[in-house]
Symmetry: D3
């Protein structure tokens, strides 16, 4: 489990993680998030409406949209606005981001407002969804802080931070924060979204290439939890 990887990391090492706050000057919260060569711009926008199913209840909502620019990856992909449809993977990811942030927010403190997290992937080298969740939590924090300062809300709705990380089994070895090359060789692929207090918000694991055992799951979970603790620490440093 100590074997080094193509980029020299040990199995439990995260890639180099950076958060550049206020990258965009108009958004209420904005974080350029880098997990190695994966770069995601997370912008939080505060809107004074809620979706129809919530109207008149005095509660708020958090939602997310996710997209890749066409040349985020090694080859160019057609633009979704040109194809006129959003694909299934995009849907899955943006639903995941929204659920993850709602799980750590007291929506009743938002008033009838929606916070939209736009996660635009500028460069993609694996782990875009986990970078998007982790960076969006910071962008949400910034937007909520601005709302509190402006007096739009009376108390801070974010209960605790949340972060996400990928883990996988590559040639039988559990690895954390897989880059694209590792991800494409992984037999088992999991994403964990976990709160600052160590509670699980999402567990998504798939063993399409090879169904996995309970022991495999335990090993991957431990690896993920150690990575999450580091990510939460880095989030907190970025906010200082």
């Amino acid at each position: 489990m100590n074997r080094s990887r193509s980029d020299g990391r040990k199995s439990g090492d995260l890639r180099s993680i950076h958060f550049q706050l206020a990258f965009n000057r108009f958004a209420e919260g904005s974080v350029l998030t880098c997990f190695g060569d994966t770069v995601v711009l997370c912008n939080a926008s505060v809107e004074e409406t809620v979706p129809p199913f919530l109207r008149g209840q005095g509660r708020g909502w958090i939602t997310a949209e996710y997209a890749m620019i066409p040349r985020a990856g090694q080859t160019r992909s057609p633009r979704e606005s040109v194809r006129g449809k959003i694909n299934g993977r995009t849907h899955e990811i943006q639903r995941l981001i929204g659920r993850s942030l709602r799980a750590v927010t007291d929506l009743s403190l938002l008033g009838e407002r929606t916070i939209v997290l736009d996660c635009d992937v500028l460069q993609a080298d694996g782990g875009t969804r986990t970078a998007a969740v982790t960076g969006s939590c910071l962008a949400l924090f910034m937007a909520l802080k601005k709302m509190l300062e402006k007096g739009q809300i009376g108390s801070f709705p974010l209960r605790e931070m949340v972060a996400a990380v990928s883990v996988g089994l590559v040639e039988g070895i559990p690895l954390i924060d897989l880059n694209y090359e590792e991800d494409s060789r992984a037999a088992v692929d999991m994403n964990f979204v976990v709160t600052e207090s160590g509670h699980f918000v999402e567990i998504q694991g798939t063993g399409e290439e090879a169904p996995f055992t309970g022991e495999d799951f335990e090993a991957l979970r431990e690896l993920a939890l150690s990575g999450i603790r580091k990510l939460i620490h880095l989030q907190q440093e970025a906010l200082r």
Copy 2:
């Protein structure tokens, strides 16, 4: 954990499960699948092509489509063909079904063919995706058997059966195979897809309402595994 539920079940009881084979006479495999009041028609179609990314490799593919008829549920929903878009939930489910079946099939034995599993929900009372996976595995079995009998393939590509079940935490109590009413009250919601040999193909858990602990996860996993064993047994009975 013994408290009875609205429909009189114990926490670990599945609903009444039925598989009506050959419901549709044209499809190569067809199973009307009932998990209580949830009714899903799973039809398997064999097509003599593969998606572009697989052409010329001599291997096959399995994919799935999922839809609900407009009045499957308690109120009518607009038809996706009328809205002109497939929503995110539909995308997630059909991708899950496809991955689950591919995980137990040796695609190299299929030749350059695609098997499409169409899962049309005729009545929806919670657990439509788990019914769809479980019924589709039977429909796939039937289609593969027909291919073997006709000599289209030389050996049987399905390595083992696969089944799926939902579990959730409702008022702190772990329940299995939730109906719609239970599902809407669940704080934690998980789906397990597990093979006949007890390996995991998919774990999807979300605690949007309340992030959950490692112990919660263990309890839900045990409940799910016991239900999967019953479902696999019922699949085998249906095939006899």
Copy 3:
């Protein structure tokens, strides 16, 4: 005109007709309709709105949607929700079903409500539109009866039953209730929608393969009227 057909029927014989009432337990009216191997699920939903052009007039509306599941027929067809468009044939059929039911209903007795008839073809062997009209009339009856019992309406709006049947010229011989194989050989193809009292609601006849004479038309009309009488009788039996 007595020559037997591929399935042994005489030229004037309907296929075996079945109506399974309350197939779906949520819909206000629900009828699984079988004309031989053609199987259409007709669900009636009562909605408390009317289309914009009728608002504020105190009258109701009846409309229909029609779709085939992908593997209804001998080969799989792409799902319309995936193609993102409804084709011309679908439009023609759902407009026909709506007109047929409105013709026998006093819409002023419905209040500002819409009854939507969803006709989902589960298996297709010719005559899906005539099965859909005939089964939808029963589903509409059930929904209206429920509305009357609940006191939503004060008197029964359905003036009389309506049924539909196909007729065609195959090798010069007039046949009724054509199956798929007969339909594809028919030079002239007609659909009649006729009320219990023998009035015509719709006549649609096309002789794309061979324009037809007035005498041909008379013969086909007689055949259709005899079939309609049997169908209306079977509807009435089903309601008992």
Copy 4:
């Protein structure tokens, strides 16, 4: 049955009918067709391909498209290209035009070519579909003549002319070639497409407002046949 109408016509009078040949100078056949205030531009284009289902059979195809410019009618309607969808009525009409022309053409004489009839309604005052069929037959004639002159085809594929007319019951009186105002008051509405030799290609009748009797049908049919004879005569004059 002799009562005069809002525009002074007798019940059996057609409106003023004009065909302006070669309105568009690029199309192989082009006819500006006027049925009173209804104006339809029918352009025939010859294309050197056939739809996929006909490839390699050496036969041709005829198809039609129908559209209204936004201000064809008394109020402006949204453009279908803006709405991004073709509505059901448009589909019905363009399918009808295609079938009507194919019924009088020997497609085996066309070679692997498609003739597309574009029917663009410039002004709409009822009866646009019957004007479109009647004018398109002339446009088709012109295009086929040009093909024969150029030696693209060896013999003339049009077996005979075809024309179409609307009839309806307005306040119990059978009227022919209804204008918009009459059409909106009609209880029964029928369209007949009939060949030069008096054979029926299409009969479409709907009694949504009031189901009709066999005698009603006979009266409307006789009225239609007399109108068709006049239209065919006018087509022949236009070609001279």
Copy 5:
């Protein structure tokens, strides 16, 4: 600069220009506009609403839609309603027409109304956008006159006429009002929209084939201005 062109014109000659007023009898303004073989039907419709961004301001709006019928040109093009999208060129042209007309209209005199100019190209031989602007100005004039006569508006909102013409460099020679054949050989292609008083509303010039000099621009501008004076004169004659 005196060399004659394929159709015998001198470099500064417009094609034969015709305006047929009231071509469509329903539209508030309607002008069939011919620039040689280019034929555009311009219909003005008055609607009693304004776009959302203008509501409640007491001002009106003018907008335009542009389309070509499929066989406008030498070969048939697919219908935009069938492709389900409007292409970039269409967007550019309809935005140009709208801006050109708004520039000469006092929108505050319209009340909360929108005038929609529908420009449908019936035949295309180059210069469809300039014919559309020039004809639409007349259609707008007619619609405004009708509004004034009916008392819907108190004073005439059109400040002055506006017209448009194309110019281009073909083999180094500046030409005006290019037909399709000339346009496809032009290295530089410009459109000028100019008011009756000689002010510029739009200048659009592109030298994709060959970037052009300041002197080229001067020569083309002079040519355009002389053509605009003639077009404005012809507009005024048409209104007499």
Copy 6:
């Protein structure tokens, strides 16, 4: 003409201009382009195909796509992929970028390849299209240089640099490189695309608010040309 602007600039001053080369590490050419607070990421991708109309001619093509991320501006705009359509302004801009780059490139030296310039606006404060053209020229340069180094092409196809700048009349004063606030107050709005050698590729001017004179045009042109010279100089510095 010397009056200072809201951000302290003189009328002829460009905003602060920056080009960050190789922002994205996968694209063949990548430039993060800043014109003040306007930030556009221009990525060039080389693809081994050409559009259908160019196949088999041995020549290449250059095309562009333009999009804004949802929170580029002061308020959030819906994502075009969600709306399922590209709006007219987007179409206009991406066509402009493509034409501008093709005008300075010898496409016959590219081989049958397409270079796609993706211009994604990360922050929008006016002048996004001119920043996109100017930055895309650098991204194209980089991609072509890489192709030359790899031996894919034998000589350098870019004849000279091209840059773009906006000018406008604000309260009668000609200003260059307008920011959003200035742009929204401009009565006349022009964009110039000009080559290194001072030739015009595009002139687009619109005086929707107030038609403009020949003298206005001259003043704006001079201002634009002086800005272009500075931009070309900055491009050349960036490449060193």
